[in-house]
Amino acid sequence: MPAWKILNRIKERFAAAVERTDVPANNRLFVHVRPGDLREVCRHVFRDMDARYVISIGWDDRPHSGGFVVSHHFSFDKAGVLCCVLVRLPGDHPKVDSVSEIIPGANWAEREFQDLLGICPEGHPWPKRLVLPDGWPEGVHPLRKDVAWNHVPEGYNHDAEHRFEDPPPGCVVVPFGPFHPTLDEPEHFRLYVEGEFVRGCEYRGFMVHRGIEKLGDSVLTYNDIPMAAERICGICGSVHNVAYAQAVEQAAALGVPLRAEYVRTIMLELERLHSHLLWVGLACHIVGFDTLFMQSFRIREPVMWMAEKISGNRKTYALCVIGGVRWEITHDLKDEMRAMLKTLEKEWLAVAGAVKGDRNLQKRTKGIGVTSKELVKEMGLVGPIARAAGVNIDCRRDLPYAAYDKVDFDVVVHEGGDVWSRVLVRVLEVFESIRIIRQCLDRMPDGPLQAKLNGELPVGRLGVSSVEAPRGESHHMVVTGENNRPRRWRVRAPTYQNLQGIPAMIKDQRLADMTISLGSIDPCFSCTDRVETLDIRTGGSQVYTQTELLQMTRQR
């Protein structure tokens, strides 16, 4: 079903509400509606037409149109269309009808534009501060255009503490994080525990919010942002790099050379390979099965070397510029990659065969962190979490980008919904990635790597792009602007939605299963209980144990 058919169905119901529509391509649909009808249009799109909720984004358009804009993004996965429902809001005291009652997954996104732009979501069930630090004064909204990127407001209190809600009666509070061996980033879960069982939690995150979007629309330029974007995530960096470039290219209606699209596909799949191998290792580490943790990392290392040979770095490939890629894949590299994939496939087959029957692993992961199809729909969960719960979505197939429409692959789906299903989905996706890379290597045509850009990019256009990261769909939106930089750039990483599903996943589970439930979304590792020092001149080494280190620090 192309975009205009979806548009017709929306117009059938809401002919009067639709103010303006843009259909820039067969797979993109932008519907501007009247603010009063926003909630009903969203209900229709989300419930009646069964679209998947992606994200809600606000931006400050006052310098150009005098007001604010809020955009709700949906994906029609079966039709392959990304649909944005936009409303224009007045410049002072902007208010918008909240859709969180209809779409629970919009909870964070609406609180985020309340914090960063001062757009009030009216009727929000829990409009508590989400992104801004606790000591940040009210009324200063950093993403507004009249606030400088390095502005620190008067009255900012560094030492302010977060005001947590009271736990339910009969429950004990167990703090989890900000620093915990199984968390890769500082996040804080305040778990309400009754006996051994978790009854609920409150989340406080955004402790490493780096204001990278503000930099993007005030400091960096179009071609600088890909290098900043890939530093959003240490594992799926290239995903953000490609997603941003694609969003700009879609906004500017810019064609990319075919060879560049194949190179992007290969690099994205290399990234998926090493990310899945890393995740399987870390998941095993979390449940205490360090043998497989070591072996996954051993098998993973040649993938990192391959990426280093292509791009000059193990991670942060600095791959995309607007209109193409920077790194060529030569014939020699192709042959090396084929050999690497062959050994990888052989070794991973052995691991997959061994893991499948491992009852110890199953006992720690079966029936743990269960998600239902309903939860996936309500919260907008994506990636292996959704696929392990039997929801057949994958951006590579549903919203094809780069060269994914030119290769054959299967989407791995499992019905279990628990952590064990996620292990299986990821283990099997490794083989699909190998298959995709092999086809790309065979079918990659000759040609240029970068499109020729003539003049400036057009101004004021909206571009959206979804890329399937190893963890799920990563969604970027760009509004093109003046001075060689976008007016607004918004990133929605897959974990943004998946973390919102955590409270439901850990409810009524044992406290000990919290770590693997969380780890099944996003792997992490920061556990070092000993340090090795090495003297290069003498070649001798000494290993300190934890107690020795403690003694050393105490002596000082």
Partner: protein, 174 residues
């Protein structure tokens, strides 16, 4: 069945053997495309400023100290080694080296400062680099009579400073 899979897992471990590399005793050679610390070649640089305006981390500064001297300063603190500067350089004056062990207590170890002697265009009055070293020698103020301070700067006041002008201006670091 679980026992069988334990045996399989053991076999995988035995087959793999020891794979850890002896770093830092021996360093593994880096591949040819490796992107390490960028190195700037003053002899090739024409001072066009392309690197400075394309640096995502804004780590390359261009400062015109006077009509004839342009300073290119690579600060190297936030540098992400993306290699965009080497990409856009029209003279190939920037190469991404193979250096990756760049942790240091002294930031000047990785910084670079190029003092470029620029001529003045007779038509537009803006700066350009002269074609070769002989042309540069003909320019006023360009002397080699003190070898330890090989670049003297002609100031608009009309006399030679004892110190190179580059040192007497505090360049903003960040």
């Amino acid at each position: 069945m679980s026992l069988l899979s334990k045996i399989k897992e053991t076999l995988i471990c035995f087959k793999a053997g020891r794979v850890t590399l002896p770093y830092p005793r021996e360093t593994r050679p880096v591949p040819p495309r490796f992107r390490g610390r960028p190195v700037f070649d003053a002899a090739k640089c024409v001072g066009c400023g392309g690197c400075a305006s394309n640096c995502p981390a804004r780590e390359i500064l261009m400062v015109d100290l006077c009509q004839e001297v342009r300073v290119v300063k690579y600060i190297g603190r936030r540098c992400t080694y993306c290699g965009r500067c080497a990409d856009v350089c029209p003279e190939k004056a920037i190469t991404m080296s193979k250096e990756f062990e760049t942790a240091t207590n002294e930031i000047h170890d990785i910084q670079q400062e190029l003092e470029l002697f620029m001529g003045t265009c007779q038509r537009c009055g803006r700066c350009f680099t002269d074609a070769g070293p002989l042309d540069q020698l003909k320019m006023k103020g360009y002397r080699f009579d003190e070898l330890d301070k090989d670049r003297w700067v002609y100031r608009s006041a009309g006399y030679l400073e004892k110190e190179a002008a580059v040192r007497d201006i505090e360049i903003e670091m960040d």
